[in-house]
Symmetry: C2
Subunit: 581 residues, 2 copies
């Protein structure tokens, strides 16, 4: 029997509850958004006592399903004011599922700020430990101490916030450990780390020792699905061993997106960066080979992932510098800040990991500040100094750490590439129209992962569309719905490459879900459930005060042509409003 763990931080109590029948099939984003929509007042202050932080593993998490270790974190976002779900790949998901904890709901907040606690969850229940000794500490150091105190990686996983969450900054993410215990996997976007900080919660440590494991209604069907999905992932060019992701990581996209003229450069002033190849996944692979003396393929972020796309950056002396340098992080501090030195970019990302920050938002804010005259584009040394300020909590650090919109306000900049308060990630909507639709209509601000049309527009997955073609309303809609389903399934979104191109992989995913739940979902149910999730999130946002006027890209994109295509954003309001109407 699964249970919900309800944690009240006002008086530090933790109680288990039965799972309401209506939530039986729900997991991941479907469940976090359901609980937030049901329990959080849409107009509440995101950092006040009425907001909640909701944690749920995906449906297939905790099983032997491939690439299924996604954990969703939901709440009302202090960055955007919308509902938020941000998921990460981490063993934490498996362990939560294996303890049969359907969701952890963190609510209330201590009277008076400054005290922090660790929530320890295991088979026996939940308890609170003081965490004040970790305040201000780098996350790598904190996680090492915590693993030493609470047991090894095989049965323990950590969710936590860094100084950014303590400062309650809009770019504060929530950090989970990766497969080696590194503090590097993030529910990064939307400032959920600030929500956690506002509740006086520094860490959640989970220990699944003797956990009962996931109940599977039809083991045979599940195994059949698992095998089909695994086969698809192991054979698709993007997801297979030594394929694109396993070789170069997500940073393989740098050259690809640059080639199509959609790599936002110097705060979205251009779609092409002359230094792109120097910060590409291929360059990283070549550097690593030279520095370590061997070809280094990537590793899994979490147990059971067969895609294994997490890269590692090595120093010139062959020692490990950091892991992982994702495409969007690489882009945020590289092309978007005009910086073409890969080691500098890796160190900028590394410091975000240490402070508990969303790299996309911080890189975006830094680029806006550079546009406002704070530093020269391309000045990596100054960029490092500025990111250090976030760690120190200086006024400048608090501006940048509050995200791009706040930074635009502070520096009087109106070229702020944000939607609903969240900075756009690494794909230029003027050059790649479908992703612009995704940014505009997404329930959580500009977010590539809410409908990754890049798959079709650039990578040729599930067909091929001209990036500059504007007729993509249906594509944008379908990606929204399919993504909401995958975000609930426990799978990494990267399974989409394989399941959209290989029908048996898609069948496999459904058979896994049906095997676990005893349901008979078909492809139609994927669309139905996806739509249900999106509709629910949109309803929350409407009640929070969002309107069609918020489903828009920033005005400057409509009148500033983007090199090299010199395209502007020209999708009409009517077309945008039709997508999810």
């Amino acid at each position: 029997m699964q249970r919900i763990l309800r944690v009240n931080m006002t008086d530090r109590t933790a109680t288990f509850e039965e799972v309401p029948e209506k939530y039986r099939e729900r997991a991941g984003r479907w469940l976090t958004s359901s609980i937030v929509a049901s329990e959080v007042p849409p107009t509440c202050h995101p950092l006040g006592p009425e907001n909640k932080l909701v944690i749920s593993a995906g449906l297939t998490s905790g099983t032997s399903s491939p690439t299924s270790a996604r954990v969703s974190v939901g709440g009302k976002s202090p960055l955007t004011g919308t509902i938020k779900e941000s998921n990460a790949g981490t063993g934490f998901a498996h362990m939560l599922a294996r303890l049969r904890i359907k969701s952890i709901i963190i609510e209330g907040q201590p009277k008076g700020a400054g005290k922090y606690w660790t929530l320890k969850v295991d088979k026996g229940g939940a308890s609170f430990l003081p965490a004040d000794q970790f305040v201000g500490m780098k996350l790598s150091e904190a996680y090492e101490k915590l693993f030493n105190e609470h047991g090894g990686l095989s049965h323990t996983s950590i969710m936590g916030i860094g100084v950014a969450g303590e400062y309650r900054l809009g770019a504060a993410g929530i950090c989970f450990n990766d497969i080696k215990g590194r503090a590097t996997r993030y529910s990064g976007r939307g400032g959920m780390g600030a929500v956690m900080g506002s509740k006086g919660l520094k860490f959640v440590i989970i220990d699944d020792t003797d956990g009962p494991g996931v109940e599977i209604a039809n083991k045979e069907l599940f195994d059949q699905g698992r095998k089909k999905l695994t086969d698809a992932l192991m054979s698709h060019a993007i997801t297979k061993p030594k394929g694109a992701l396993n070789s170069y990581g997500t940073a393989v996209l740098v050259n690809i997106i640059n080639e199509v003229g959609g790599l936002p450069t110097r705060n979205f002033r251009s779609g092409r960066f002359e230094g792109a190849t120097k910060v590409s996944g291929e360059a990283l692979f070549a550097n690593n080979k030279e520095r370590t003396g061997k070809e280094v393929y990537n590793h899994a972020c979490s147990p059971g992932c067969v895609i294994q796309c997490s890269n590692t950056v090595y120093r010139p002396d062959g020692s490990e510098h950091m892991s992982c340098l994702e495409y969007e992080s690489d882009w945020a501090f590289g092309p978007n800040c005009g910086i073409d030195d890969l080691d500098t970019v890796a160190e900028l990302v590394n410091r975000c990991n240490e402070y508990g920050l969303d790299t996309i938002e911080v890189g975006g804010a830094l680029a806006v500040a550079m546009d406002g005259g704070l530093a020269e584009f391309g000045d990596g040394k100054r960029a490092l100094e500025i990111v250090n300020e976030i760690g120190k909590g200086t006024p400048l650090g608090r501006i940048i750490g509050s995200g791009a919109v706040t930074t635009g306000r502070a520096f009087g900049v109106n070229r702020v590439p944000a939607v609903k308060g969240q900075n756009m990630p690494a794909y230029e909507p003027r050059a790649i129209k479908g992703i612009g639709m995704t940014y505009a209509i997404g329930t959580m601000g500009a977010d590539h992962t809410s409908g990754y049309t890049i798959a079709t527009e650039v990578l040729g997955v599930a067909g091929k569309a001209d990036p500059l073609n504007s007729n993509k309303a249906e594509m944008a809609r379908n990606f929204q719905y399919a993504t909401a389903f995958i975000d609930s399934s426990g799978h990494c979104l990267f399974i989409a490459f394989a399941i959209l191109d290989i029908p048996s992989g898609f069948e496999g995913m459904l058979e896994e879900c049906n095997g676990i739940l005893g349901t008979s979902w078909t492809a139609d149910d994927v669309g139905r459930i996806g739509k249900e999730v999106i509709d629910m999130e949109r309803k929350f946002n409407r009640a929070a005060g969002f309107t069609k006027a918020d489903d828009r890209l920033p005005e400057f994109m409509t009148y500033e042509p983007l090199p090299p295509h010199n395209a502007v954003w020209d999708i009409t309001d009517e077309e945008l409003d039709s997508i999810l109407s």
Copy 2:
């Protein structure tokens, strides 16, 4: 024949246009809001090229009507994102009217930032002068230089921005000179100084030499009205010579509002300040008497004002320190920051005047930052240092200068007493319910001047209502409409005290308007016109993305009881939505 002066800052052209027939009766706020609603795209970026800055004198400005020198400045606010009108009392209004310029519309913006211009307007037309030499200069020094260069006070008036407008900060106001040429009269709220700065416009200098003067359709009726209104102003206890305002200035309210428990103290943590008497208007009057050796009554901010409420603060040695210390400014840095030293408060306000800042927003932001741990409440020395940072444009200065909401974000504070992005002024809505309704439903964020129910709730004007009584929807509505009319009439809102209590004063105001326009407006037209203005502004806001969810007070006021009455904000959403529905 009146004309509209349209100024394009992209290519620095200025052309006169005929006034459309529909605008014939409109002036002041009625006209600025009409032009903004008609010409500015509601979803545009307030600091982008599509926003406009619209300047209009009131209907009676430029005539011999008493207290009629209000000039309205309109546009889309960078602080709130709403439509904005902010008016100031200054000879500028008279001169604009006497040149028969119905409105100046500033549009476009230079490519690239950093160059500034002065627009010189006189009988011959309009011209542009370089203003780069004034960048970074204190406004008192700049205005002195400008008056020396462009002629004396009798025929010249200046509108300008300080460094805050150059930095495009959300708290940047637009400064007009007072009756002695001091740079102290402000269209302060909503960041209109940032809009002016975004257009590369540093000053507008007006010279009405040989201006044709205001056309008056029925001079006899006008004179009859003028006399009735003057008599009312000269006899009401609040507005008469040596009455409350003429003796103590608006700061007379400190003790009064403190007494009713509605003086927001230490970032709205209490409604009563133990140091209130030390920063009261009475204390200022007593200090001045002691320091100058005589009773100092107040002076007019602008020619023709009979209320004469502008006070002057003198130093211990009897020399002039600054003018004027309004109640809201006094409160913002005094009780709201826990500072009880009048000279320190006066100097804080003085620095805002020098930098071109809205004192309410800056004091509000400072209090939020103090609440977030930046400084101790009551630390005047540190407060002065922090306000200095705004002048220097440091990161901390940019946070505070961006207003309370941005400051709350930077310092992770959720006790931010703002509505639609604008900090509340000096009246606590939990203790004085009607003003809370005004804050909630106002079209421009929390703003006491949009419906000054304090007149009835506290001062006993037009009846008397218990401040804590919640049944004030009709009062709030009527004040909104009447205010929108007065803001269009050219009169200072302070005529309301007299015209609401003395029927002949109200008649006089109408006769003046009818005398000028040749209309036959009655009291019904006051309501009709006021409603038309409010409806137009609300329509703009709806199109900009505002909803009922924005017509709310901040959540913390619903659950934090306010001493001494320990009242919470308990007006229902339904009641708020009924007020202007």
